[in-house]
Symmetry: C2
Subunit: 377 residues, 2 copies
């Protein structure tokens, strides 16, 4: 498999009161199309990734809406799989190119979360989880906190290990002008911020974010450029209570093994990765389930600085969901944009030296959907 990432586009992430979902989608899309040296009419299909706009703004049919806004008359789709919507849209866009049906496609992930009230957004986001667990009173911080508690008990992971994820990702975000929170935080600040759901403090959680990311994918094949060489999706039960383990996201293991096999590389070949740190424990689980370290060692692995810029395998150089922000439908696409920038050697202050193979991991819910991509230059 060899799909060219021909263009990338990304808006500022943050609380963007003066922009609509459509403003954001257009800005990222036009940037990606321009970057690809194509024109809008060259795009034959548009894949829109979005989770909550239908609920908070009662606007569906985003595929055709955004396509016509961009003066693209081709096919258009909206893809949704909770917070994995972006990764799923990339995966399906790739299929349509591999099928030979479309040659140039646009994937745009966009989310406008700050126009609704916090209670409305919180309720909308719970649509990613199971009805039974919601009725039992669980929220997403609650679900991930259960996973964190189990990990702490079983493997001795500490609150400091988790806080280190936030400290690292804020440091990376401080080098990224597009990040929602482009500033550093200290370990003390992270640990002593208000508890939101034990063992989590505020700094263990990703924020509510507006933003959009776009990529143009093409069938073009030359020796130059960045290519997606592996793309895989795996699923699991939506309810956490039906899983075999609270301390493993099995779908990450399955999807990453498939994607790495497709790409013909090993996890040890990966030089840079963007993973789904919706909560700090999620990045620890990702390190283990992707195979960067042994099960139970994720906290210590991160503490060693291996995944910080300058370390052996920098992870979430964008700042991750934690500090770059988490506009849910955009996140899976933004991960591809960040890795493509790294592989193009255009990541500026965040540049990982020698980055030639990268990986993205995008999670829906507590791991009911996982999408893994491998990119190579």
């Amino acid at each position: 498999m060899r799909i060219k990432v021909a263009g990338i586009g990304l808006t500022k992430f943050g609380e963007l009161w003066d922009k609509t979902l459509f403003d954001l989608a257009e800005e990222a899309s036009l940037e990606a199309i321009q970057d690809s040296s194509l024109k809008p009419p060259d795009i034959q299909a548009v894949f829109v990734a979005n989770m909550i706009f239908s609920k908070v703004s009662n606007q569906d049919h985003l595929g055709a809406t955004i396509a016509s806004q961009l003066n693209i008359q081709g096919a258009a789709f909206r893809i949704e799989g909770a917070c994995a919507s972006g990764g799923l849209a990339i995966h399906l866009a790739i299929q349509s190119i591999l099928a030979g049906t479309y040659q140039n496609v646009l994937v745009v992930g966009a989310e406008k979360m700050t126009d609704a009230s916090i209670s409305e957004v919180t309720s909308a986001l719970m649509g990613a989880g199971s009805e039974a667990e919601r009725q039992a009173g669980l929220t997403f911080p609650g679900l991930y906190a259960l996973m964190a508690q189990a990990h702490m008990q079983q493997f001795g992971t500490t609150r400091e290990h988790m806080a280190q994820v936030a400290v690292k990702n804020h440091y990376h975000a401080s080098l990224n002008k597009k990040a929602q929170y482009p500033y550093e935080v200290t370990l003390e600040k992270a640990l002593n911020s208000p508890c939101i759901c034990s063992p989590f403090t505020l700094f263990d959680a990703s924020p509510i974010t507006d933003g959009a990311a776009a990529v143009v994918l093409t069938s073009a094949s030359t020796n130059k450029g960045v290519y997606i060489t592996g793309s895989a999706v795996a699923t699991d039960t939506v309810d956490l209570s039906s899983r075999k383990s609270l301390t493993e996201i099995e779908a990450t293991r399955i999807a990453s093994q498939k994607a790495l096999t497709q790409a013909g590389v090993k996890i040890s070949d990966i030089k840079v990765a963007e993973v789904h740190d919706c909560f700090t424990i999620a990045e620890i689980l990702a390190m283990e389930d992707l195979g960067f370290c042994e099960k139970g060692e994720g906290g210590k692995y991160i503490e060693k600085g291996i995944t910080k810029l300058g370390g052996k395998i920098p992870v979430n150089t964008s700042g991750g969901l934690k500090a770059c922000g988490h506009p849910v439908g955009a996140t899976g696409v933004k991960q591809i944009v960040e890795i493509a920038q790294q592989l193009r050697k255009k990541a500026g202050l965040r540049q990982v030296e020698g980055a030639n193979i990268g990986l993205t991991q995008n999670v829906g819910g507590t791991g009911a959907t996982v999408v893994v991509h491998v990119l190579q230059s």
Copy 2:
């Protein structure tokens, strides 16, 4: 292109107070999987088509939810494009098979519309249209009524022509046990029912429906069975006011020409069709834009009985959206189920003699998305 329709499944359509969306999706899916002689673990990807469940029941992530309910551990997606969600899901499932990524995939379209209040459902459905036109006070009956008024003025189409669509489709539904309204209506009854939006009476509109439809698509290729040989999507502006014409759905013309070319057949080769008669005028427009008759002649064409069972090209043998029902996310999948039954010669009292090539046309909004499929046996 040659994608096998290996299995089909369909629930009763209607006001199904005793069933949830998940009951309906499971029933149709298991029927389709059993019909294909596969087992659930053989299915590598699940494509769920749904429009309003996220809004009326606050449950997203339907891909993983329904996949795990069926004990399928593969990839899973939710595809949305308003009332064209079903057709789009079929189109994307086909791409994933053509890509060589998946060999056996399930597409299930499901919608549960009667659990919400009428005002809630009406509001949810308006998400298929443009915000500007909604703010101007337009509803979908209003939008299609504008198209009908223009067609009447421009081409002399009459209320009787439109009512004939309802009479024909109710007759077909009277032969279909799965239909929501399996009974005939007279022309007088249709014409004299209450006006809902001039020139439409109640019988010009499709109903609010619960139901699900599923198909198993495979890469298997033998001489036997039913195959999808053409699949195309076209889009247009979501707002009707930006279109060149009120009396043509251009996306139908573009998508059908592509799909027919792919299949290597002409419109005159089609022996049976399921088209998107959300309002009676939509079936008249479909006849013209698909090329069954000249522009402006749709009303007279239907009046001649050509599209009634026993006629040359029976259209909407299921009863169509009008009388079989219109569970929005399921509709595009149900159209494939009906044509597959016809091509298998298993349509019972509705069987079209000599049916070997069929076509489906699935519309989102007022034609912002159109999906056309060609099936052959």
